[in-house]
Every structure is written in C-alpha cells, then in structure tokens.
C-alpha cells in the first residue's frame, strides 16, 4: 500500500491534473492481438499477425512515440470463449488497444468490449456487416471488408454482362447471408435480379441436393460464398456435376482464396470479386509482398494485407494522439481523415469506419487469382443503421 514510488505518484498527479487516464510517456504501449493461432483459421491469424508486426518493424517498433509491445492471444475461433478471452487481454494483460479477429462470431465479443469500455478496436478480418452498421462506434475501426462488399462487386459485374437472373448458394450463417444480400444489391444496381438463395447448414459439405436443383431454376449464373476447405469441395463438386460449362459459377473472392492449388482444374476460369488479387502491380504492393516473403518465407495474401493495414491505421491514430491510446477523439478524427497507403491500393474510411475500396474482378488462371478488371470502384458499405456517438 505504501510502496507507491515517487515517480508513480508524480505521474498520477500529473494525469489527474490533465484530467485524463494515466499513461506514462516512457511506458510501452500494450496492443492485444486476439486472433486464431490454432484451428481452421490458424493460417489466416498467423498472416494477419505477421504483417501487423512487419509494419511495426518498419516503424522501428514505435507508434505515436511509444514503444509497442504485442500481446498475442489465441482465440481458437471459439465464440463461447470470446468474452473471457477479451477480458483476459483487458484485465490481466492490461492492453490499451484491441486488434482482432477472423471469426465473425468471436469478433462480437470484441465489439461489445470496445463499445462498453470505449477501447480502440481495429478489426483486421471479420466481415460481419453489423460491426460497422448498427453496432458501429467511434472506437471501432475495420481494415478488411464487410461481407456485403465483394459480393456486391460480383453481382454488379454479372448484371453488366447482361445476366438477368442469378442465385446465391451458401451456408446458412451470417457471412453467407450478408454476402448474398450484397450480391443481390449488386445485381439489382445493374438491372438484374437475385431469384433465390439456396443454403445448407454450416459447415456441411454434402452439396449434391443443391447442385441437382440448379439446372432447373432458369437462371443464367450461380454466385456463392464458401471459404477454406469447403470451398475446395464445392468448386470440385460443381465442376463434377457438369454445370460449370452451362451455368457459370462465380462468387466472393474467398471462394478461391488460398485454395486454388487444391481446387486444380475445377477452378480454372472461375471469376470472383475481392478487394485484393494476384498481379496488382502498384509499387506499394510489390514492396509489401517482397518484405512479407522475406519475413515469413510465405507469399502474402489478402489476410496479410488486412493485418498490415491494421497497424498502419493504428499508427495514424496514435501519432495524432501522441501515443495516448485512450484519447479516442483525436485518434478517430485522424483515422477518419486518413488515406491509407495499402498494398490493395490506397483507401479511406467510410463514416461508419469501414474501408471505401476498389473491388477487383479476378479470374482463376494457373493457380493464381489474376486481377482482370475492376468490379466496383471506391465501393463503400451502405453502413445502414450506424449512429455514431
């Protein structure tokens, strides 16, 4: 009780005088990286974290004048453990900034904590619309996408090609449904129509009952959202059912992201839309890919880009508040005004704190998702229901 050092006492007094929570200029800033480091999404979490570190290294390990310490926590993509994990970071580890995560169920616990405690949260992947719509907050930012965005781009491209009727095939869960809404909005914007959404329970992989229905639906194209290993199975089953030539398959970029090798010939020629792709030759991307490869020995992907940009955005905020991670107002003002020099191409944030970004049209060719055009320029999520403040 009496072991309060003189320095701490003075620091406390100074903080009181300024009317702000204490933060010692010299003390390292703790940033909590809550990501999946095991399980289905482990590879995604590792790439987000590695690229986050990469930018931190480029800045000499300091942001806003303070040395940054990263506290990693494996969230196991388990929504049931999420509230407890968030608490561990905030209470036990005393982190001042939260960065996470991949799984859209787990991210809800982070969103809740950021809203309740007014802690800065940067979401480097999870795309559930709500985080930057009805649950938006001055302290919540995202450097990835909403599920709505890439699918909207895909729908728009199809409609521009003259497709009048299309269906969406996906799992019966948030990301699948939200991307279906984006696809429908994109189609409608170009005069097309989404006639039906076909779903199966998550994470089932018996696609046969759905595939057999497709020829009879009277549509000209099929869009879909699946990711990871299941996307491999779906694309292969689609090709095996002989539908690929008659009824073109397309989708959100995740359908072919990181799984092209496993999909092999079944994916060849498949078009998808995403805010990143292979063959983007802007100088920032070229430098970033080389640096990431050198640091990790792996090729960079869209997840690495999200992580890198999360750290870039944090740096902008902390520079503006001179390292005070509790000063949400000046940080948010700077981040809202910023143009982030991303490997995907520069982007800024929408009023609801989600990237306003170009969605590229990509085609799977020889194991790469080559960018072949632009699906939607400077696309902002509608941010429906977001009331800041």
């Amino acid at each position: 009780m009496l072991h309060v050092s003189r320095r701490r006492l003075l620091g406390g007094a100074a903080a009181l005088a300024l009317g702000r929570p204490a933060f010692a200029q010299g003390a390292p800033l703790k940033v909590g990286l809550m990501l999946p480091f095991s399980g289905t999404y482990a590879a995604l979490g590792e790439n987000v974290a590695a690229a986050f570190e990469l930018y931190l290294q480029e800045r000499g390990g300091r942001l806003g004048g303070r040395t940054v310490t990263l506290v990693r926590l494996d969230d196991e993509s388990d929504p049931a453990k999420a509230p407890q994990n968030v608490n561990r970071l905030l209470e036990r580890d005393q982190v001042e900034v939260l960065v996470g995560t991949v799984h859209s169920g787990v991210v809800m616990a982070l969103v809740q904590a950021a809203r309740e405690r007014n802690v800065l949260l940067i979401i480097p992947n999870a795309g559930n619309d709500a985080a930057t719509r009805e649950l938006c907050a001055p302290s919540i930012f995202r450097t990835s996408f909403t599920n709505w965005q890439p699918a909207y781009g895909m729908g728009k491209v199809l409609a521009a090609k003259g497709v009048k009727k299309a269906v969406w095939v996906t799992w019966d869960y948030a990301a699948g449904k939200e991307s279906g809404e984006g696809f429908g909005d994109g189609l409608r914007a170009g005069g097309g129509e989404l006639t039906q959404v076909l779903t199966l329970p998550f994470p089932e992989t018996n696609f046969q009952p759905i595939l057999a229905q497709l020829p009879g639906l009277g549509v000209e194209a099929v869009g879909s959202f699946f990711a990871g290993g299941s996307a491999v199975q779906f694309v292969k089953d689609y090709a095996a059912s002989g539908l690929k030539e008659k009824l073109p398959l397309c989708g959100s970029g995740f359908l072919t992201e990181g799984v092209l090798k496993a999909q092999g010939a079944a994916a060849e020629g498949l078009q998808t839309a995403l805010h990143y792709g292979d063959g983007l030759d802007n100088p920032k991307n070229i430098v970033f890919r080389a640096a990431f490869q050198q640091k990790t020995g792996r090729a960079a992907d869209v997840y690495a880009v999200h992580g890198y940009d999360a750290c870039q955005l944090l740096a902008i905020g902390l520079d503006a508040s001179k390292g005070d991670a509790r000063a949400i107002k000046p940080m948010a003002a700077a981040m809202e005004a910023a143009k982030i020099d991303s490997p995907r191409g520069a982007f800024s944030l929408s009023p609801s704190h989600n990237p306003v970004q170009t969605i590229y049209l990509r085609e799977a060719r020889g194991g790469e998702n080559r960018v072949i055009g632009i699906a939607a320029e400077a696309l902002a999520d509608p941010g429906t229901g977001c009331k800041m403040g």
Binding site: T40, A212, P215, S230, V232
Partner: protein
C-alpha cells in the same frame, strides 16, 4: 419440380443412404450382439477418412487406401474389442457408454497430435476423374457412381454372409437373443470380436470412400454418428435388413428434404424417428 431433377435427387438420396448403411450396419450389429452403444462409431468413420487422406496423399492412389481402411479397420476393431470392450462386458451400460465417449476424445486428440486441425481435400482417383451425364443437364462424377456400386456390393456380401452362412446365423441369433448363443454352444467371445472388427472395418471403409466426396476435417464423424443412430432406431436394433431399408429411407428423406423443403430438412428425419418411437418402438423393420 422437373422430373429430371427429381431423378437426380433420388439418385443423390440413394447414394447417401447406401453410405449411411455401411456405417449403421456395424453400429446396429454391435448393439444387437454386444448390447453396447458405441458412441465412438462416428470417430471410426473419421479415422477411415483420415486413413484415406494420408495414404492417398503419400501414394497418390485412393485404391490402396480402401483395402487399408477395411483390413486396418478389422484389425483395429479386434484390438479394441479384446483390449477394452471385453473388459466392460459385465459392466453397466453407463460404464460402457463412458468408455466409448472417452474413445471419442482420445481419437480426436490423437488425430490433432498426429496430423493437424485443418480441413483437407482428398483427390478422386485419376481413372475416375470424369463425369457422366445421368439425367438431363446433371452429371455424376464417375467416382460417385463407383461409390454407389461398392456400397451395393458390400451390402450384398453382408446379406449373403448374414443370411446364408453358419456364422451369419449365429450373429442373427445373438442379435435377437444374446443368451441363446451360449445355449447353442457358440463361442460368444469370438463372436464379439468378429462383430466389433466387422463393424469397425465397415465404418472405416465408409470413411475412406466418403473422403473424396466431402473432404476430411475434425469432428466429421459427429453428424454421421447421430444420423446412424436414427437409422438404427428406425430400422430396429440389431437388424441388418432394417438398417438397410432405414438408411435408404433416411438418405432419401434427407436429400429430398434439403432440395424441396429446406426449412424443414434439418428436423425431418428426427420427426420420423420420433414417430417410429411412438408407434413402433422396436423399429419399422423389426420382427415383432
């Protein structure tokens, strides 16, 4: 609803049902003869799928994986019966259920330790990597047709064995009335080993066959375990013929349900099971 589409869905349902039969026939026999509710049966299916993934990955051929899963499964099942289940024979049902539950956890941990927690796809054998148009615009991969054929062949062999051989009739007798086996002077211990080995081999074969059709991932057997229990309950505990018809029925209901009434698809088969339990508690195909 077009006719071609309906035919395609019926084919899908039959294929799914036949695969279900391979899994649930072992489950029903193990219950019938040994009176053990084997919760680890779904894990055996998963192990079969991982055997296919590892062997097909290492040798490039799924054809080697199928006999490996079948023979390896028989051996593994025999070891499990001799080493574990035999010791639990005189114990209460609860102890036996706990044993099989422990096996689920052990198998899952072993899988995570030996391999990883990722989702893996398994390549279809190169010789069967083409599609055949079946109905209208809908094609079936040659491998899927081969799985249909293999399942039918195995089912026929099982009927021959159970209906026509001495050992088969001993198994039938044991399934209907376990005490009778001792009266008939049949070595019950040997019978148990045989049944458990056979059930394990069938579950692992089913897993290996299913690997290229639905990929390989942690906990992939859980869903199959539950649906197999539904098959066993509907078909009548211990009845091979019952399991066969119930598996086809479930396969068709589930597939057609998913296609035409997706809102109810998740619950349709369980509703059917509840009705069977109410009106024919011993199963639709059980001899009264």
């Amino acid at each position: 609803m077009r006719l071609a589409e309906l035919l395609a869905e019926i084919l899908n349902g039959l294929q799914y049902g036949l695969l279900l039969f391979l899994i649930s026939s072992g489950l029903t026999l193990i219950f019938g003869v040994m009176r053990v509710i084997n919760l680890a049966h779904g894990s055996l299916f998963m192990i079969g799928a991982y055997v296919a993934y590892v062997i097909a990955g290492a040798t490039g051929s799924l054809w080697l994986a199928l006999p490996a899963a079948l023979l390896g499964g028989a051996l593994f099942g025999a070891v499990l019966e001799r080493g574990l289940f035999r010791r639990f024979r005189e114990r209460e049902h609860l102890d036996q259920v706990l044993l099989t539950f422990a096996l689920i956890l052990l198998f899952e941990e072993a899988r995570a330790a030996l391999l990883d927690n990722q989702f893996h796809s398994v390549a279809v054998p190169a010789a069967l990597d083409f599609s055949v148009p079946v109905v209208g615009d809908f094609a079936y991969s040659a491998y899927r047709i081969a799985v249909l054929g293999i399942c039918l062949f195995v089912a026929a062999l099982m009927f021959m064995f159970v209906e026509r051989t001495r050992l088969g009739s001993a198994i039938r007798a044991a399934a209907e009335n376990p005490e009778m086996v001792d009266l008939l002077g049949i070595d019950a211990r040997r019978l148990h080993t045989l049944v458990f080995a056979g059930g394990t081999a069938l579950a692992m074969l089913a897993g290996a066959l299913a690997a290229p059709l639905q990929s390989v991932y942690p906990g992939m057997g859980d869903g199959y375990l539950i649906i197999s229990f539904v098959v066993v309950v509907i078909g009548g505990l211990g009845s091979i013929a019952g399991a066969f018809w119930a598996a086809l029925l479930i396969g068709l209901i589930d597939t057609l349900g998913k296609a035409y009434v997706p809102q109810a698809a998740g619950s349709a088969v369980y509703l059917l099971m509840a009705c069977v339990l109410l009106w024919r508690p011993s199963g639709l195909f059980a001899r009264a």
